[in-house]
Amino acid sequence: MAMLAELTHRCPLACPYCSNPVDLVRRSGELSTQEWVDVFRQAADLGVLHLHLSGGEPAARHDLEELVAASTGAELYSNLITSGVGLTEARLEKLAANGLDHVQLSLQGVDHETADLYGGYKGGFDRKIAVAGWTVKLGLPLTINAVMHRHNLSTLDLMIDLAVDLGARRLEVATVQFHGWAEKNKAALMPTREQVQKAGETVHAGRRRLKGVLVIDYVPADYYATYPKACMGGWASTSLNIAPDGQVLPCHAAPTIPWLTFDNVHERPLKDIWMHSDAFNAFRGDEWMQEPCRSCARKAVDFGGCRCQAMALAGDAAATDPACSKSTLHADLLAAAEAASSTRDADLTYRRMPTLKQPLRTHDA
């Protein structure tokens, strides 16, 4: 069981496919150090083994070192999911000394030009390469996380080579998923069917060639597939997310299902939320399923696909994920994906914090 702790939504990068919600939490709304420490303890008691420290950029939290120590104290396996920006060699040494288990570094491309364009941060690529070097020097396992889309899929083989050159033990090739900010950028990012097919072949060839050198995990695009992805391994079955403000979510995108309400660690113990809350129980088991899912032999394999994708594309979170060929909406989805993938010169909407509508004022009691 794993927990994703989104320590903050603050991030120096502005990736147009960020999985954070469009409505970002501000710094003032973030949980305090002590609140996070308490959540980590509760998570360990609940049976969580892996703790993913994410964001935003987790290094934007000045208490990251303390939080890693707390994770170690709770006997959790800590994974730092980082853009690399905000880390220094000294900071990484301190994190390692405090028991950090694993570093997962994002790369937006294989060169300055692509990486800095899609990261929306000049100089980001150089910093990432430096962070990879420090991580390997410390002996920590390094994973390279590469979100792939129409404009960088042609460099997938170079990304695999780069991961090996950097000394990564693992590469996560994640085809862009259209939730959060990516949803705004479908036309710009949607890969073509040919790209998706070739990517699968490149990954298989890479795995064979690099057995014992690099582990490659692959999240394929589902819109051109026959069956949907087993999203989250089934709703609320093996993982949970904590948003920066303490909201407890079954997955990143769950708040896009408008009728779900979410609990907060301020108000309810984590175990109680996990076991008994409406949001976590909404799609457990198969009682909620409609046809064709309910009588489908694959219902225990892919659980009807992604609930948030069903919400976004079918307008009903309990519907069959339209990525499934058995969905009546599948043909429409396919046509829309193909149309989006042939869009030329679409604008990118970068991820940004909202601008203040009113100037900040001090408050006197």
Binding site: G47, L49, H50, E75, Y77, N79, D101, H102, Q104, G139, L140, P141, T143, R169, R170, E172, K211, G212, V213, L214, V215, D217
Partner: protein
């Protein structure tokens, strides 16, 4: 498929890969980047002796002293299991 491992080679779990007993599940686990392996009794017994100091041959000897099984059988089990961890980038075998 298993790789040849000389008796003098020293296996060690890579940093960021560690065993942990899980009380709730009453089992030994191997924790690694994005992976949790549930260890059966044989796997747990093998990893209990892999400390980065003992050679492959010494690990087999220690296991022979503890468990009543022929050396070839233990050697094959250890080799198969450790090779699978090498393939998954969880273990390295230093050949002197």
């Amino acid at each position: 498929m298993t790789t040849e491992i000389p008796e003098t080679a020293r296996p060690r779990l890579l940093k960021g890969v560690r065993t942990r007993f899980d009380k709730a599940r009453d089992t030994w686990l191997l924790l690694a980047p994005e992976r949790t392996l549930e260890l059966d009794a044989v796997a747990a017994a093998i990893l209990a002796e892999v400390d980065g100091e003992r050679s492959f041959g010494e690990v087999i000897d220690v296991l022979m002293a503890k468990y009543d099984a022929p050396r070839e059988r233990i050697s094959a089990d250890v080799r198969t299991f450790l090779s699978s961890l090498v393939e998954r980038r969880m273990l390295e075998i230093d050949v002197p």
